[in-house]
Amino acid sequence: MEKHQYSRFNETIYHQKLDNGLLVQMLPKKDFHKTYAILTVNFGSIDRTFVPKGKTEMRTVPDGIAHFLEHKMFEKEDHDAFDLFGKLGADSNAFTSFTQTSYLFSGSDHIHENIDVLLDFVQDPYFSEKTVEKEKGIIGQEISMYDDDPNWRLYFGILGNLYPNDPMHIDIAGTKESISQIKAEDLYQTYHTFYQPNNMNLFIVGNIDPAETVQWIADNQAHKQFDEPADIETEFELNTLDGSDVIPFRTLEMDVSRPKVMVGIRGLKEIKPGQDALKYRFTVELLLDTLFDDTSDKYLELYDNGIIDDSFSYNFEMQRGFHFAYFNADTDNTEQFSDEIVKVLENANAQMLKGRSQFESEKRAILGRLIGMMDSPEAIANRYAGKLYGNTNLLDEVEVLESITFEDVLAVIPEFIQPAGISVFHIIPRNN
């Protein structure tokens, strides 16, 4: 087991790759009461085209299968994993993103048993036609609920503009139509292709003894049979690299009280997985903070002119294979909002130079928030993104952040902000 000490933060991370390929990482927090563990599979909603294990041909599975699988993993022939955690006094949950599926628990007692339950339910699939059919009702309700949520529609609206031909524009849960096609055998096939130990990692934070804990996990794994690890062949390529398919503008009418607007930028530079990807992310975040957060002159101008209010926010998302930023607000001045945001983006270089004196302060603010996250077992464990950021964890992030210079930020502007990647989506109140 390897040990990495971060003396500046009084934290130590232990990691070990087990014989079957499962990566285990642990951060003990001795004065904490709970333990949080998250088991992540490197498989998400965009991984819909792949060579099934044991086959040679690519196939495309129905949209929403990763999320469907996540739901169905809990249910077994004669019990439900939820109940097992419940009996052990633990909370459990799961979530699916574009590129990952995660299963987690948080408990303050019976940690050994809870870890066993977590590993066992994710490593022992049971699907039947009957339970698959029943789940369609539950997930259908979930999709309906999100359909009624204007913020969700706004988010997927801009994704539909930025990636009209790529799977990111489809709801992670799929559509009612796509999930109706899912069969138990699809779930098994998908499961066996992606849920291999070497495509998974387990991150545990809390009141644990690392040596003892890793032994529990090794013992658990030693009792199971795993297939020989196989290479996973997925086909995920952006339809275009130059952004020529980006839809510049669309509007949706919905039953909302105020118009909503989102400006999106699709990153067109190809970012290779590794620590440089993390550096790229922080560099863009620093750029966006300097241009748009409440310390910027522009923010105050837009706020005082009633173009934005406290509903304004922006975010940068980087995932395996793609990255984008978005800016959104509830505003009666939708067009002014999008024009102003685009103008700032187009003049980013000049704006950055004007905001130079703020740069160190912005960096310090991000640093403060990173250190603050170290108090949260969930934040520490959930932020781990595997290969995407070269296997760095939250504690490593600090060094990467600190290495970024003002010149790095200037250099990232033409890389990230390209007119071909910019798009706008509006939601306007329906005229009844």
Binding site: H33, D109, Q141, S296, L300, D309, D310
Partner: protein, 417 residues
């Protein structure tokens, strides 16, 4: 450790080395009236925006960024009959930032509370106008969140029509028009000089030093009236309301009176009962309404020990309304009949225990919990509460469930006829 800064102003410093961040909460509480809720909410928004020294949002935000991206914000909230304006700061411990950060933060919190942008008896007019507009729009936008909307409509039919409970803790649009940049100063003065003030500081700090820094803020002494925080109302007939909107998922919400209050002997029986009914994934509502019948995407219950209300909320298909109501009522009846296992009881207790213990692992949660205890002069430790929860029997749960009286049913129909 408690410090009495002056009459009616309590400072509670909880020293712990568990966290890298520290928390400060300064809470102003006063009995709610129909006239003070919206005013105080708007005032909280204005106070958060700027101060005399940092007279624009930008200057204030830059100072916060300099202080390692500290968070400082205000909020309006309700605990039963009490209306609260809360100033909350979250920031790094000196050890992980720079020596003296704590003092800088306390100074800034004090600046925001005691040195607002008021000139000649008036809040800064442009700031006032902007925040008034923004509060109105954010209240209007809430209607777009259908879960929130359904719960607020339920509240309107549950609570007595002339009760301040009709008004959300953040205010209502109709009350904004009478507020001006000058009459809001009266509300501010009343809050600063008359409200009960509870301050909590949680973190790895030197207690005497920190207390001295808070003393320098010089709060004025005040006489705090002893008013019960617990809201009670008479039973009424069951009120039902149905509305139509173009939605894919309908919402069905129910409210029961449950006259059990914080610190009463059956408080934790009610908490456990709520856990069995709909407070956990093992609960009757979750298992029978969501899982077994696939009737709902969410089905849960909430118990408020300051208002004496238990609410149930579900998201369903429109045509399943009657079936869902029937099933929900069956779950309540089952608990009244004692139809739940010793095993489920224990699981709910273990889940609640875990929730309480894991709350100890969050500095903001710890600060909030201490604030609540300070407001109610409660000194029960988490260990004591865990014991009380574990002492709840099946019989206690049944007895508490018998107190449930259905009072309101709200249905937001997704089908447009």
């Amino acid at each position: 450790m408690h410090f009495n800064l002056t009459n009616g102003v309590d400072l509670n410093i909880i020293k712990t080395t568990q966290f890298k961040t520290n928390q400060i909460i300064v809470n102003f509480s006063t009995p709610q009236t129909k006239n003070n809720i919206t005013a105080r909410s708007l005032m909280a928004d204005i106070l958060e925006t700027s101060t005399k020294k940092y007279h624009t949002q930008t200057l204030l935000a830059r100072h916060e960024a300099d202080l390692f991206g500290m968070y400082l914000g205000t909020s309006a909230s309700r605990i039963g009959n009490l209306h609260n304006v809360k100033f909350r700061a979250s920031f790094l411990n000196d050890q992980y930032s720079q020596p003296g950060l704590l003092h800088e933060v306390i100074k800034l919190v004090g600046e925001m509370i005691l040195n607002p942008l008021i000139d000649n008896g008036s809040f800064d007019e442009p700031t006032f106008m902007t925040q008034k507009t923004n509060l109105a729009s954010s209240i209007a936008s809430l209607a777009d969140d259908k879960q929130y909307y359904a719960s607020s409509e339920l509240r309107k039919i549950y609570f007595d029509q002339d009760s301040p409970m009709q008004i959300p803790s953040f205010g209502q649009i109709d009350d904004l028009s009478v507020l001006t940049a000058t009459n809001l100063v009266d509300q501010y003065q009343a809050m600063i000089n008359q409200d009960k003030i509870n301050i909590v500081l949680l973190g790895d700090v030197d207690e005497e030093n920190a207390a001295a820094a808070f003393r320098e803020l010089n709060f004025s002494p005040r006489i705090v009236k002893n008013v019960s925080a617990f809201y009670r109302q008479e039973l009424h007939e069951v009120f039902e309301k149905e509305e139509q909107q173009e939605l894919k998922q309908a919402k069905l919400n129910l409210a029961y009176q449950l006259p059990v209050y914080f610190q009463e002997s059956n408080h934790y029986s009610a908490v456990v009962m709520n856990g069995i009914l709909g407070g956990t994934p093992l609960s009757k509502l979750f298992v029978n309404v969501r899982e077994k019948e696939s009737l709902a995407y969410y089905a849960n219950s909430n118990f408020n020990a300051f208002n004496g209300v238990l609410t149930i909320q579900t998201g369903i298909e429109s045509q399943n309304k009657d079936k869902a109501i029937k099933l929900i009522k069956q779950q309540v009846e089952a608990i009244v009949a004692g139809d739940f296992s010793e095993e489920l009881l224990q699981e709910v207790k273990d889940g609640l225990t875990h929730q309480l213990l894991s709350g100890l692992d969050s500095s903001s949660n710890g600060a909030e919990r201490s604030l609540m205890n300070d407001i109610f002069d409660n000194d029960k430790s988490v260990e004591t509460i865990v014991n009380e929860i574990n002492n709840v029997t099946i019989d206690d749960v049944v007895k508490t469930a018998k107190l449930l009286k259905l009072q309101a049913v709200y249905f937001l129909n997704g089908e447009v006829k």
